[in-house]
C-alpha cells in the first residue's frame, strides 16, 4: 500500500513542473503585450514602455524569467496582476470560493438526481423508465451548456420571472465573507432571507453546470449496477430470498459506487471547463471569467497563476481519487 501511494505521489512532481512550464511558455506565446494593451488609444512612448517592462521583470530572457517565476512560486508568491496590481493569490482567493460553491452545488444536484436515476434504471432494466433515463442522460451529455444556460434564463428569469438574472445574491444583502460561500456565510450571519437570495441565484447556474456530470453519473451508475447485479453473490443473495431492496441497497450499491466515485473525481476538469462557460453566461464572479478576461488583457501573471492553481486543484483531486480508489479496491493496490 505504501509503495502504491509512493508511486502515485512521485508522479506529482514532474506533472507539477510540466504544468508550470506549460502555463509559463504557452502564455508568453500569446501575441501582444499587457502594457501596450492597457495604453489604449493614447499609447505609450518607447522609453516609458521599456521602463515598465523592466519594472514588471518582462525584459529579461524568457528562461531567466521562468527561473525567477519558479523561485517565487515555490515560496508561494504568484506575482501581481499587471492590470489591478493586486496579488494573483489574493484575487484567486476572492473568486475561487464562488467557483467552488457553484461546482459543489452542481455536483450535488448531479448526484441527487443521477444516482437514483441510474440505480432505478439498472434495477428496472429495459423498462420505459430505463429507456427514458438513458435517453435524457445522453441528451444531457450532448448539451451545449452555453445554450442551455441561455434557454433557462429565457424561461425562468425572463418569461416566468422566478429566478434572478445574474449575480450571486441580491444587492441589498450585505454579508461579510467568512468562508466565501454565500449560502454558508448568510446562514452564519443568521440572515435567512439572504440565504434564500443566494440560493435562488445559485439554482440556474448549478443546474446548467451539473447537466453533463449528471448525465455521466446516471449512465455510469446504471452500467456499474448492471455489472454488479449480474455477479454470483447477488444472485445467491436473491436466491436466498433476500428482499430485492436490501439486495440493491446493501450489496450491489456498495460495489457499484466504486467506479462512480472515480468518475466523479475525473469530472473535476470537465467541471472547470463548464464553469468558464457558465460563469460567462450568468455573470458569476468566479475564476473562469477572471481567466478569460486575463487573456484579452494579456495579464500574464494572472493567466499563469490561475492556470497553475487550477491545474494543481485538478491534479490533487485526481490524485485523491486515485488513492481512494486504491484503498477501496484491493485489486488495484496489489497489481503493482
Amino acid at each position: 500500500m505504501l509503495r502504491f501511494i509512493f508511486t502515485r505521489l512521485s508522479l506529482v512532481v514532474p506533472t507539477f513542473i510540466g504544468i508550470t512550464l506549460l502555463a509559463f511558455f504557452l502564455v508568453r506565446l500569446v501575441p501582444g503585450d499587457p502594457i501596450e494593451t492597457m495604453a489604449g488609444e493614447r499609447g505609450i512612448d518607447a522609453a516609458r514602455h521599456a521602463q515598465l517592462l523592466t519594472e514588471y521583470g518582462l525584459d529579461r530572457p524568457l528562461l531567466v524569467q521562468y527561473g525567477k517565476y519558479i523561485e517565487r512560486v515555490v515560496q508561494g508568491d504568484l506575482g501581481k496582476s499587471i492590470v489591478t496590481r493586486d496579488s494573483v493569490l489574493s484575487e484567486f482567493g476572492q473568486l475561487f470560493p464562488a467557483t467552488i460553491e457553484l461546482a459543489l452545488c452542481a455536483i450535488i444536484i448531479a448526484l441527487l438526481v443521477g444516482l437514483p436515476a441510474g440505480i432505478i434504471a439498472a434495477v428496472k432494466r429495459n423498462s420505459i423508465f430505463d429507456h427514458g433515463v438513458m435517453g435524457i442522460s445522453l441528451t444531457g451529455y450532448s448539451m451545449p451548456i452555453f445554450w442551455w444556460g441561455l434557454l433557462l434564463i429565457l424561461l425562468f428569469s425572463v418569461q416566468l420571472g422566478i429566478t434572478p438574472v445574474s449575480g450571486r445574491i441580491a444587492v441589498q444583502y450585505f454579508i461579510e465573507p467568512v468562508t466565501g460561500f454565500l449560502t454558508i456565510d448568510s446562514l452564519l450571519a443568521g440572515d435567512i432571507d439572504a440565504f434564500w437570495s443566494a440560493l435562488s441565484h445559485l439554482v440556474l447556474p448549478a443546474i446548467v453546470l451539473g447537466t453533463v456530470p449528471l448525465a455521466v453519473i446516471a449512465r455510469m451508475t446504471r452500467s456499474a449496477m448492471l455489472e454488479v447485479l449480474g455477479e454470483d453473490y447477488i444472485r445467491t443473495a436473491r436466491a436466498k430470498g433476500m428482499a430485492p431492496i436490501r439486495v440493491v441497497a446493501l450489496h450491489a450499491l456498495r460495489n457499484a459506487l466504486i467506479p462512480v466515485v472515480t468518475v466523479i473525481g475525473l469530472q473535476v476538469g470537465t467541471l472547470f471547463t463548464g464553469a468558464i462557460l457558465t460563469e460567462t453566461i450568468f455573470s458569476w464572479p468566479g475564476v473562469g471569467k477572471w481567466l478569460i478576461e486575463a487573456i484579452s488583457r494579456r495579464d500574464y501573471p494572472v493567466l499563469q497563476g490561475g492556470t497553475l492553481l487550477l491545474g494543481v486543484v485538478v491534479m490533487s483531486v485526481n490524485l485523491f481519487v486515485d488513492l481512494l480508489y486504491g484503498l477501496i479496491n484491493p485489486r488495484i493496490r496489489h497489481a503493482k
Binding site: L26, L138, P144, L150, T270, F272, L277, I295, L310, M315
Partner: protein, 302 residues
C-alpha cells in the same frame, strides 16, 4: 482485457461464423438509438451536401426589410423565412443548413487530425516504452490537467481567432484521449502471440506497428472517433460562442449563438435554433458512438 477472448484475430478469418461486417450489422441494427443517430447524421450530411440547392436564401445575404422576423408559425413570420431572420435580416434556416457543412467538417477534421497524431504518439509510446513512453504520457497527463476549454482558448489566443485555428486548438485538447487509447491497445496487443511470432520472424518494427498491431486496435479507436466528433463539434461551438472560433459572418452554429446573444431577450428564435442544431447533431453522433461500442465491444457480445 481477459486472455480467453473468443474473438478471432482479423488476420485469420475463419469460415464458419458469419462475415464480421454482417455480424456487426446484426448487433448494430438491433440498437434503435444507434440507427436513429445514423439516420440523423445522414440527414445532416445531406443538408450539408445540398445546402446551396435547398437553402432558400444566400446565408450571408442581408435584407434591410426583414430584421428579426419570427418563424413562420408566429404572428409576423412568413414562409419566405421559415425559421425567421437574424438581426441583419439573414435567413436563419439557410445559415443553419450551411452551418451543417462547417460543423461536420469541424468534427471530422478535428478527429482526423487528433487520430493521426494520436495513433503515431500512442504507437511510439506503447511499442517502444521507456523514455519515449514516459515523455509522451507525461505530456498527455499535463495536457489533461488543464481545463480543456482554457487550454483551447490560450491556443486560439496564440494563433489568432478563426475557424482553422479553433479546429487546431480543439484537436490538441482532445489529443490525449487518442494517445491513451492507442497506447493501451498496443500494450495489450503487443504481448499477444501473433506479434511475438512476427517479431521472431524478423518483421520490421514500423511495418509491424502499422500492419499487425494497428488494425487490431481499430475497434476502440472507431468508437472513440465517433464520440470524438461530438466532442469536437461541442468544443468548437463553445469557442465560437466565446468569439474565438469561426468569425462572423461565417454561419458556424456557435458563432451564430454568440452573435445572437444580445437579442436573447427580444427574439428567442435567433438563440434557440442554432443551439438546437448543435444539440441534435451532437446527440446523433453520441447515439451512433454508443451503438458502435456495443456492437464492437466483445465484452458485451454474448
Amino acid at each position: 482485457m481477459s486472455t480467453d477472448t473468443l474473438q478471432a484475430p482479423a488476420a485469420a478469418p475463419s469460415a464458419a461464423p458469419p462475415h464480421p461486417l454482417r455480424e456487426f450489422w446484426t448487433y448494430f441494427s438491433a440498437n434503435r438509438g444507434a440507427v436513429a443517430g445514423l439516420v440523423v447524421i445522414v440527414l445532416v450530411l445531406l443538408c450539408a451536401l445540398f445546402a446551396p440547392w435547398i437553402a432558400p436564401h444566400d446565408p450571408n445575404l442581408t435584407n434591410n426589410a426583414v430584421f428579426l422576423k419570427p418563424p413562420f408559425w408566429q404572428a409576423g413570420g412568413s414562409l419566405a423565412y421559415p425559421l425567421g431572420t437574424d438581426a441583419i435580416g439573414r435567413d436563419i434556416l439557410s445559415r443553419l443548413l450551411y452551418g451543417a457543412r462547417l460543423s461536420l467538417v469541424i468534427g471530422i477534421a478535428v478527429v482526423a487530425l487528433a487520430i493521426v497524431v494520436g495513433i503515431v504518439l500512442g504507437l511510439i509510446a506503447g511499442y517502444f516504452k521507456g523514455i519515449a513512453d514516459i515523455a509522451i504520457m507525461r505530456l498527455m497527463d499535463i495536457l489533461m490537467t488543464m481545463p480543456s476549454l482554457l487550454l483551447a482558448i490560450v491556443i486560439v489566443a496564440i494563433l489568432g481567432p478563426g475557424l482553422m485555428n479553433a479546429m487546431l486548438a480543439v484537436a490538441i485538447v482532445v489529443l490525449p484521449h487518442y494517445v491513451r487509447i492507442t497506447r493501451a491497445a498496443v500494450i495489450t496487443e503487443a504481448s499477444k502471440d501473433y506479434v511475438v511470432a512476427a517479431q521472431v520472424s524478423g518483421a520490421q518494427t514500423i511495418r509491424l506497428m502499422f500492419s499487425e498491431i494497428l488494425p487490431n486496435c481499430a475497434a476502440p479507436l472507431i468508437v472513440q472517433a465517433t464520440l470524438g466528433v461530438s466532442t469536437a463539434i461541442l468544443d468548437a461551438a463553445a469557442l465560437g460562442f466565446l468569439g474565438l472560433g469561426a468569425q462572423p459572418p461565417t454561419p458556424e452554429w456557435g458563432t451564430m449563438l454568440a452573435d445572437a446573444r444580445e437579442f436573447v431577450l427580444r427574439a428567442w428564435w435567433v438563440v434557440t435554433f442554432p443551439g438546437l442544431a448543435i444539440l441534435i447533431t451532437v446527440l446523433a453522433f453520441n447515439l451512433l458512438g454508443d451503438g458502435l461500442r456495443d456492437a464492437l465491444d466483445p465484452k458485451l457480445k454474448r
